[in-house]
Subunit: 193 residues, 2 copies
Amino acid sequence: MQLLEDRIRRDGKIAPGDVLRVDSFINHQMDIQLMSRLAEEFRRRFADTPVDKVLTIEASGIAIAALVAQQFGVPLVFAKKSKTSNIPDTVYSCPVRSYTHGNVNTILVSRDYLHAGERVLLIDDFLAHGEALRGLIDVVEQAGGTVVGAGILVEKAYQPGGADIRARGVRVESLARVASMDADAGTVEFIPD
Amino acid sequence: MQLLEDRIRRDGKIAPGDVLRVDSFINHQMDIQLMSRLAEEFRRRFADTPVDKVLTIEASGIAIAALVAQQFGVPLVFAKKSKTSNIPDTVYSCPVRSYTHGNVNTILVSRDYLHAGERVLLIDDFLAHGEALRGLIDVVEQAGGTVVGAGILVEKAYQPGGADIRARGVRVESLARVASMDADAGTVEFIPD
């Protein structure tokens, strides 16, 4: 999507460790007018898809997921990363490795909020190794629901997550697919839509 | 606000440890149509207030804060609870005790996203002891910005946070102010608007 690619070219920063920083407009400060446009684009791309629920994972996916849920007029559920005192014991869970944080979290979704037969659209800000998305698919399948697709803002297409998840038969729509980054030149190349 | 009070009476659960669980519609599964109405209510209540930015704290405040930022047409910033590899070293920070989780987190906001002179509206889902809100006020003041108000979904008005923060001169608008809860009867009483 040209709008997002242009914004990444303008305001994205390539940081050490192959990190594409978009925290001025996506995942720390959020340009909500941009995000609203991106949510509308997901609505357009998944217009032929019945969606009962949007599922994301805390924390930086929540804002775009809320705007997508608003577009579809359906509830949003977010998977939590740690057990708190006010989560019931009856949860679906899956271990998820974070390459960014260098640790493994267990993601948790209450059994009250995912059900057999539900058609679930997954939303997240980033897709690289695909660990978070695999965890979300896993909890939906534990519940007996169906993943109708995954909407991603930025996919690092040179990492294996997107290909792995598409090979499982999940429709993945990424609004910007990074083909390569040049840290020295500060340039980002995208796979055309 | 009647709409939210009615929903809490219907779907809220009183859990051991004086916990009011609203995770079926506010902070695990989110009723985005309800949340959109609540975001409009904040827009109405703060209509006379110039707002440059909305600030919240991860994770469960992000959805309502995104919808409020959309109402005002301004950026959203969320304070993070732990240092990750892609946050710059130059942050405003403040220790914040969580009574729910029984620990102390440092909240972090990049110096790039809070500035002197900015008029900041704080948004969060819950206000009880007021620790999170005090942390957010602290980082705005470190940046030289002005807190123009705080919008809260559910305030436990019998705990000290709301009174403390109002006594500091901060305008706090809570859409539901819980006066008391009776765990045995399963009833919640509210302070009238």
